[in-house]
Symmetry: C2
Subunit: 527 residues, 2 copies
């Protein structure tokens, strides 16, 4: 057992004592990457403290990257743990990493030895968020972590046939250097598909990209300089936060309504206040099945958002990535479709409706915006992979995409229903969740005072994982919320997984009723 | 014929009179995109001026994007011509576009009409260079423009078989969201390949990217902030200039030696002076078969460059993209192989040795650099396309890559020899060129006072095109140099094309001997 000691009479909360001692042992090398540490229950017993106290300490250490849990194997010192050697660059960092302040990097050496990369790195700005959400530990668990498609339904034989056909028909062209605009046959298919959906576009209004993450990077490069401001949904897709952090852009987060009584989606008074008080470049929104909340903006909100953008002369970047995965509620026109002032840039992708492993997405925007984005794209990676583009063009041309979307939409509707049913059946009173009309995830709020990161520690020990809400906030995270992805998990796993989550939560709740509580540093800890 | 008038007694050079009148006609809409303008010879006759005068005017208009030549069809107002509407954003620009200053954009409208995108764009910074080098007009010409592989030798059937095998064996994994590091089987193959070449690496020292252009973008994001300085070869790969321009980085260009008598490659005294006078983050070099000059740095220069970098504690970014295409001279160790201080980031790709249409490259660097680049990669586009990665892994595993490289290396050696022979046979005295030991291009210098852009105007009318040297300079372009790519053109075309170039040049030379010359604005114009 670890040589830890806690002083119950100290003014320092017990969980912080445990956290700091474990952290120190990593720094001194007593604990090394890969070392297994005791399960929370085990350590709690040996220290004579409550299991929640240990779980709180573990939650903090995990969020700092010191430890990682592996389902069925236990909890280990992370291979990415910020040991003094590895984390030295973070001392320039953005303050997210509390651990980095706990020691001083080695003094610079001018002896002609190894290069001090620390002195050359630009400061880090939070790019790690995405990796943290999707830990390796997902293997073997019932995982509600991701919002990604169900791979066992991929029509692999059909895709094989498409790659065969395109390489046979246009192999030389596909394998040779291509155009930054996009591969012409794919642009044609996309224009036809968008046309069938009611959006008539010219080729000059369309740019193929490597997916929405890249589209955001390109938009960022074309529009934003350090210090510029954008309005974002809060919570939002974490990948947008990493793009803007990298570009040192000011993110103005505006709350997303999910509660009954308010129109779902970004708070429009909040948007207006942000536009009035700041020189904003654009507003980034996902009007359909927003990630992570699942909220869909009603028609009136879409109209008002467009009016606001026109009045304040800012652009809107509309992420339409989930719009074809609506399975209930009326189909609503996109912001792009409603836009009369030419102020919308729409980002979209095959990642959610088809195959995220093929990195193909697109942007729809006014011609002069596309012209600008095309040059930025060229400077970024020349062009998008052409085998993937040609394959998706052929898959679309053959009707495979339409068939696949229809099938997956039905599947996700069933899975969403199964999750809603399980939540209804098992969750204790005081827990709330959204009822999305499509997409891949829903959003759960624990009663105030409960921490989703702590719930995750306990749930993982029982083989169930999810994404705590804190990853989705640009500013102050709410601790009591989390995202459940339902698209990649079958109904049996959903029923089982939600039941386990509810059980763990009930256990915590009943312990709290028996124990004494006080607020410590903004979180509830058992002392 | 166009309503142009020239005043021979004016102090304004004739070619500038012609240029400005044509430019004005585009601005007023008298000439519109797609309109054909007369051949230089024709317009010269009608105006009673020398053909070179018209060619000079056309060269300027072309470099500004106003006109474009199409082989066998004539010269046209460009669809990308900076008309008042289209070029308004450029008035924020970097001064590269002289045309943009010739008019004022429409005043801002606050009437709730279209969005004024101009007010939202970040300023443009030269991303256009790459598009300009590769004009559409390449079709139908003998083209020495590009440095890209010969597509007719692509082993398409073998590739088809590879895509079949990987989709059959690992389709679900390939099509599902992947890892920012790279697809594991490809990383394994790359490590094995690099190991066979003498570079033993751990997986943590390798990151898969979408090619060298993206690797430069990632390195740029990880290391550079606006105002930071890098040392570059001058001339250099234009794609690196666009990356650094986008990031507003100071580029310190150091001349590349190609002449006999000096060690080939970047001037090391120049590098040292740049390091002494500036806080430089890294030095970007292509030691093997540099693009555009074809220069290969000798071993002693490589050692000295590493010493300089260690002494001044700066990193080296080594582009190894042509290193496997050495076909003569001793095989030299890469900077990465010689590096004892851990200061080299090596960028590399399948683009030159195999298929640029599949966007797959990689970076080799110390572990903590890769760790940082991986996070930046994730924030940029999540990960590289996995169908392309899996296909290249399989192609490499089967030995297809080795066989292809060997074959292409032989082919390019033959083509390079053919080009050197043709230059030797046809070029007039005073013209000089490099004799590369590999790669895809060589570098030609006309006698001082001759302008390669002007030569291109005449040569294109005869069906031969190349890349004028001005695109490759970060700072002051030398007007008299140009790049000839030999990889994508067969021996018959090479012989014919070089003969035509030499003829055109001889004609110009003999005209100049007969005519009167003076220097105008740094270029030689016949008046």
């Amino acid at each position: 057992m670890l040589p830890l000691h806690v002083q119950s009479e100290s003014h320092v909360p017990l969980y912080i004592q445990i956290r700091d001692q474990l952290r120190a042992m990593v720094h001194t090398g007593e604990l090394r990457p890969g070392d297994r540490i005791p399960a929370s229950r085990e350590l709690a017993t040996s220290l004579g403290v409550h299991r929640t106290t240990v779980a709180n300490a573990y939650a903090e250490l995990e969020s700092e990257g010191f430890i990682e849990g592996h389902v069925g194997r236990g909890t280990f010192i992370s291979h990415d743990a910020p040991t003094p050697h590895r984390s030295a660059p973070e001392t320039h960092g953005n303050g997210n990493s509390k651990a980095a302040r706990a020691f001083t990097p080695a003094p610079p050496s001018f002896n002609g030895g190894s290069l001090r990369w620390e002195s050359l790195f630009a400061d880090e700005r939070g790019e790690e968020a995405l990796s943290r959400i999707y830990p390796e530990s997902a293997r073997g668990a019932i995982s509600f972590v991701a919002a990604r498609p169900s791979a066992e339904h991929f029509p692999i034989e059909e895709l094989r046939s498409c790659t065969q056909a395109v390489l046979k028909g246009a192999g030389e062209e596909i394998l040779q250097l291509g155009s930054s605009d996009g591969y012409e046959p794919l642009k044609r298919e996309l224009l036809a598909m968008l046309g069938r959906e009611g959006l008539r576009l010219r080729s000059e209004q369309l740019l193929v990209t490597a997916g929405v993450q890249q589209s955001l990077d390109l938009v960022c490069k074309a529009f934003l300089r350090p210090g510029d401001a954008v309005v974002l949904e809060d919570p939002t897709y974490p990948g947008s936060l990493t793009v803007f952090a990298t570009a040192r852009v000011r993110c103005l987060g505006v709350p997303v309504h999910t509660e009954a009584g308010a129109p779902a989606g970004i708070d429009l008074d909040g948007v207006e206040a942000a536009l009035r008080q700041n020189r904003v470049k654009f507003i980034l929104v996902t009007p359909d099945c927003q990630n992570p909340t699942g909220a869909t903006m009603p028609l009136e909100s879409r109209r008002r958002l467009l009016e606001l953008a026109a009045r304040y002369q800012v652009a809107i970047v509309e992420d339409g990535i989930y719009s074809r995965l609506r399975f209930s509620g009326p189909r609503l026109p996109s912001l792009r479709a409603l836009d009369r002032a030419g102020l919308v840039i729409q980002t979209d992708s095959f990642s959610k409706i088809a195959f995220p492993g093929l990195r193909v997405g697109w942007c729809v925007a006014p011609e002069r915006v596309i012209e600008r984005l095309r040059l930025v794209k060229q400077a970024t990676d020349l062009h998008t992979d052409q085998l993937a583009q040609a394959t998706m063009a052929e898959f679309t041309r053959r009707g495979g995409l339409d068939r696949h979307v229809k099938k997956m939409c039905g599947l996700y509707a069933t899975r969403c229903q199964a999750m809603l049913k399980a939540l209804e059946k098992h969750m204790p009173e005081g827990v709330e969740w959204t009822r999305p009309e499509g997409g891949m995830c829903l959003w759960v709020a624990l009663p105030a005072g409960y921490d989703a990161s702590e719930l995750l520690i306990h749930a993982r020990e029982r083989g169930v994982i999810f994404a705590p809400g804190r990853y989705f906030y640009g500013q102050v995270p709410q601790p009591n919320v989390f995202r459940l992805g339902f698209a990649g998990t079958d109904e049996r796993q959903i029923a089982k997984g939600v039941e386990v989550l509810a059980e763990v939560l009930r256990e915590e709740m009943s312990k709290r009723e028996r124990g004494g509580w006080r607020r410590v540093e903004g979180r509830v800890a058992l002392v």
